[in-house]
């Protein structure tokens, strides 16, 4: 098949699943198996793209001209391909888990849920393969809208409030700041194509560069940079599969992915380094890393704690871009992958605990480890990966970021990264410690056990992935090297 056809298929297949779901409202098994098939097919298509291009960048493929000079176009490029592979691969796992979770938990509106979920995946695919800023922006907004209905899914007052914060922050930043930044870029340069080495050199100068970067950095609300991070904890009212795939992987990674794209292909790493425009962003990211970790420590609700942990971890990736070195970008790109598998493990383990016990607060977890060994073991592995201990995936990306900070001589940043790892230990491992070493509370029934293989299987599998990725990290970095070597 043509490359363009394959690229189109990665969006068309989830889209078809999104259409099929409401049509098959009553046939539960058929519907869920079809969606699983779609997930596998999407992943296979992404793999086929990988096989065909071998990670080489392709020329843009124009789908539609919106206005003269503004195209909807797609292109294959290592960072985007990696993102697409992660999202579609984890979609398979999450879908299996989601079916188990939604059924095991007796949630309502399955068809609507999985339709919106598939639509979100379709948007992520479009975003990953976008060849210009305009296309990326289009799918960015589509992603917000499709996930919004997932956040509001339960329809309770709390869910509505969360959904309001979600939509308000993401729409507000993207229309209020991101759009202005995009139009500004277009007005200044006359193009929005992602070009290695950036397009802004010579068009925007002086103090305007950090201002434009600021519009992007805050406008990309999905990157959850403080102070626009509050939507992420608010989104935790959604069913756990949503939190797992979308708010640990797809949506938030779409944010930092966009951030990296902006840094690499719009500004250009060298341009950022020369102008020093991203220095302030580096300090803001460092602040977000520490502050979010501190807030996470104070959360008793498990999902909220994980949400703040995500805010902190996302700032790593922004930091990698803001360091404006090849190594930093590489570390940031790798962290997209490593954090994805780590955090999805944590979320799915959290959901597995919830389905089995209906407990959401960490203070209620005392002694649960013996009843739910697989869930907590998976949680433990995920936590170690997030902290960055070998032999788990997270250690590599953190290592690269530290190297990058050392390259630029930012010793304080190294300190921040170290401190953050310590804080991670404090707020993640304490949960595991409670579950395994404290005695169960008196009201805990003895009969509790794991909720079923559909629920505990996926987190166990992704925990395994954390280990595999540690040994295969070299392959991923080799794959990503082209994005970091873009000399103008």
């Amino acid at each position: 098949m043509e490359l363009a056809t394959l690229t189109g298929l990665t969006m068309a297949i989830p889209l078809a699943a999104a259409v099929a779901n409401p049509l098959l409202r009553r046939q539960h098994n058929l519907r869920d198996s079809l969606t699983l098939l779609a997930a596998v097919a999407t992943f296979a298509t992404a793999l086929a793209i990988l096989g065909r291009t071998g990670g080489e960048s392709s020329a843009p493929m124009r789908a539609l001209t919106v206005m003269p000079g503004l195209d909807i176009a797609f292109a294959i490029e290592p960072l985007g391909l990696m993102f697409a592979l992660i999202a579609s691969g984890l979609w398979i796992v999450t879908h299996i888990y989601g079916v188990g979770y939604m059924r095991g938990n007796g949630e309502k509106g399955h068809a609507r849920f999985f339709a919106a979920f598939s639509l979100a995946i379709a948007s992520v695919m479009g975003l990953a393969f976008a060849a210009n800023m305009f296309t990326l922006f289009l799918f960015y907004e589509l992603l917000t809208l499709s996930t919004f209905s997932l956040v509001a899914h339960k329809g309770t007052a709390e869910a509505l409030k969360g959904a309001k914060t979600y939509l308000g922050t993401l729409m507000g930043t993207s229309i209020g700041l991101f759009l202005v930044a995009v139009v500004w870029t277009y007005t200044a340069t006359g193009t929005l194509d992602f070009t290695p080495g950036g397009i802004l050199r010579g068009h925007v100068t002086g103090s305007l560069v950090p201002v434009l970067l600021g519009l992007y950095a805050f406008g990309i609300g999905k990157a959850a940079l403080m102070p626009f991070h509050r939507w992420l904890p608010a989104a935790m009212v959604a069913p756990t599969p949503v939190s797992a795939l979308l708010h640990a992987v797809a949506v938030v990674k779409a944010g930092v992915f966009t951030m990296l794209k902006v840094g690499i292909y719009i500004f250009g790493i060298d341009f950022l380094a020369e102008t020093g425009a991203s220095t302030w962003l580096m300090w803001l990211a460092a602040w977000t890393i520490i502050a979010a970790s501190v807030i996470a420590m104070q959360q008793d609700n498990l999902k909220r704690r994980l949400a703040y942990s995500t805010v902190s971890q996302l700032a790593y990736i922004t930091l990698g871009m803001a360091l404006a070195t090849s190594m930093g970008v590489l570390g940031g790109g790798l962290h997209i992958a490593t954090h994805a598998v780590g955090k999805i493990t944590l979320f799915m383990a959290a959901g597995s605990i919830y389905v089995a016990t209906h407990r959401t607060e960490i203070s209620q977890f005392d002694g649960l480890g013996r009843a739910l060994p697989v869930s907590f073991a998976a949680f433990f592995v995920g936590a170690l990966s997030i902290i960055g201990l070998p032999p788990l995936a997270g250690s590599w990306s953190k290592w690269l970021l530290i190297l990058a900070a050392a390259d630029t001589g930012e010793w304080i940043i190294i300190g921040v990264l170290m401190l953050s790892s310590l804080l991670n230990v404090a707020y993640l491992l304490s949960i595991v410690g409670r579950a395994f070493f404290l005695l169960p509370a008196e009201d805990t029934p003895q009969a509790w056990s794991e909720a079923g293989p559909l629920v505990w299987g996926p987190p166990a599998f992704t925990a395994l992935l954390c280990v595999v990725l540690f040994f295969q990290a070299g392959a991923v970095t080799d794959f990503l090297v082209p994005i970091a070597e873009v000399a103008p």
């Binding site: 206005m67 503004l70 289009l138 907004e141 309001k164 209020g176 700041l177 202005v180 007005t187």
Partner: protein, 532 residues
């Protein structure tokens, strides 16, 4: 009108033998009379529909007339997209003495908008008015609809300032009655129609006074002729006075904040089909007239350098964008919310005018179109809600997303376009406006434009929350809207998406129109011989 009338091509820049041949050809066939037929057919169909008296024939006649106008407008537009203009002399009398119909990209575009909306709304109106207006009035409804349509098309087509006033009043008078027809549901339609009449007539009279002043100093009523003579008389105070009167008069018709007071009531209490038609066309045509006078007759130089109109229009536009959006948030009636949102959207159009650049002006013109289809979608959705749920208050439509999924989904699309989400028509115009602001270096303006979109997020969200996230009421008719309503609604909804994803045609046409307006009429040569 006389059969001797002749069409005459106006070659913009490359007048040559080819154009002359084309002009001769146009003069012969029916096609040569299209500029007047586009207005005349609906105009004559109106009394025909009444006089035939057969209720069954009314709708087909009305629809056929509207369809003809659409086809004619499209063919006219395709003829002028290259930047030429068509000049048609009524009765063969040459301008400036005779009345000239002058079609260029700007007004052909407006005529396409108006007639296309009419064609889309008429099938929809059948079911809608059946529920809202007694059957004995249906014939009159259609006749008035045709008159309003003919008036609006005439305003767009004519190149004669006084003729424009006459058509403006034809459409306005028909509109007042159409609004008053809402009285079968809510008696406030009557008082609304009355105050609309007072304000509309005052506005039109101001306009005609302005025309009088211009005639006094120039001795002509032909707009192209006016433009040339005005350009030769800088500093003429009579012309200044005429300018002021025309701006205020059209400001009333446009519903330029704070001259907007007639609009919320008129849109709220009119029958749903009328609201949809009005919201999509009436103010749009008024904006066109404003454009025509500001740019063609007075010329950008006069308007923005001598009169410094930018600093008059700009604050009013911003005020509209923010104040009206803010008021819209606090409405309890969906229709009224949309009405205030319309005022805010008119603010965008005025903003594009005030910025005075090719890009921003294209934004204004393309927003005429995009907002027309967006608002038509939304008002048609409301009409379907009124039919089934019995009212347009938020209370009436609680949970209706589950009862009427198709209608509501179209409503969501319209709402997204109102916000300006990428992929919808509203985004395209907003993009051009922001780009226009940034090109001028007015970054604060760009921020203000997007900030007011955020207010739209709030009121659209209120609608979506009500329709989707609440339990449906028990006492509503639990059926989807009839197909005759759904199909037009979805045609409109899909076109908001289509023109959001593939805006080359609209942006291109608007760009041509903007170019023609910015260059002023003085560069376009006046046609010579007047046919027979």
């Amino acid at each position: 009108m006389s059969g001797q009338a002749a069409g005459d091509a106006l070659a913009g820049h490359a007048a040559g033998a080819a154009e002359a041949a084309a002009a001769a050809e146009r003069a012969l066939g029916l096609a040569g009379h299209l500029p007047v037929l586009v207005v005349l057919v609906p105009f004559l169909a109106a009394p025909l529909a009444v006089l035939l008296g057969a209720r069954r024939l009314t709708w087909p006649i009305t629809f056929a007339a509207a369809l003809f106008s659409l086809a004619a407008a499209l063919s006219l537009l395709s003829g002028v997209l290259g930047g030429d203009a068509i000049s048609y002399h009524i009765g063969g009398w040459a301008p400036p003495l005779g009345i000239e119909y002058r079609i260029d990209a700007a007004n052909a575009f407006v005529m396409v908008i108006v007639s296309a909306i009419a064609v889309a709304i008429l099938p929809y109106a059948r079911a809608s008015i059946a529920a809202e207006i007694p059957a004995r009035q249906h014939v009159l409804f259609h006749a008035l609809f045709l008159l309003a349509l003919a008036g609006l098309l005439g305003v767009a087509a004519t190149g004669d300032a006084f003729n424009l006033f006459v058509f403006l009043e034809i459409s306005s008078l028909a509109t007042y009655v159409l609004v008053a027809m809402g009285a079968y549901r809510d008696k406030r339609a009557l008082t609304t129609a009355f105050s609309y009449l007072l304000m509309g007539t005052t506005g039109a009279t101001f306009f005609v006074i302005g025309i009088g002043f211009l005639y006094m100093s120039t001795g002509t009523l032909n707009m192209a002729d006016l433009a040339q003579i005005i350009a030769q008389q800088p500093g003429n105070r009579t012309i200044h006075a005429g300018f002021a009167f025309i701006i205020v008069g059209m400001g009333l018709k446009v519903a330029m904040y704070p001259l907007h007071l007639w609009l919320p009531g008129a849109y709220t209490y009119a029958p749903s089909a009328v609201s949809a038609f009005l919201a999509a066309t009436a103010t749009k045509v008024a904006v066109y007239v404003l454009l025509r006078f500001l740019f063609t007759v007075f010329g950008p130089q006069y308007t923005f350098e001598a009169a410094e109109l930018t600093w008059v229009i700009l604050p009013l536009a911003l005020l509209a964008m923010f104040a009206a959006s803010f008021i819209a948030i606090f409405q309890v009636n969906f229709k009224k919310m949309l009405a205030y949102s319309s005022i805010a959207q008119i603010g965008y159009m005025l903003l594009g005018i005030a910025m005075l650049s090719q890009t921003a002006l294209s934004g204004t013109i393309v927003h005429l179109f995009n907002h027309a289809i967006t608002k038509a979608t939304l008002f048609m959705v409301i009409g379907a809600y009124v039919l089934r749920a019995g009212g347009a208050f938020y209370r009436d439509i609680e949970g209706i997303g589950r009862v009427m999924p198709w209608t509501s989904a179209a409503g969501v699309i319209g709402g997204l376009s109102l916000i300006g989400v990428p992929g919808t028509a509203g985004f395209v115009s907003k993009w051009l406006l922001v780009q226009g602001a940034l090109e001028k270096g007015w970054w604060w303006m760009a921020l203000l434009v997007v900030a007011s979109s955020l207010l739209a997020v709030v009121y659209v969200w209120k609608g979506i929350e009500t329709a989707y996230l609440r339990a449906p009421r028990d006492d509503v008719d639990r059926r989807e809207a009839p197909l005759t309503m759904l199909v037009p609604i979805w045609i409109m909804a899909l076109s908001t998406i289509w023109f959001g994803l593939s805006a080359e045609w609209t942006v291109g046409a608007a760009g041509t129109a903007a170019e023609a307006l910015m260059s002023g009429a003085s560069e376009l040569p006046i046609s010579g011989g007047a046919g027979h």
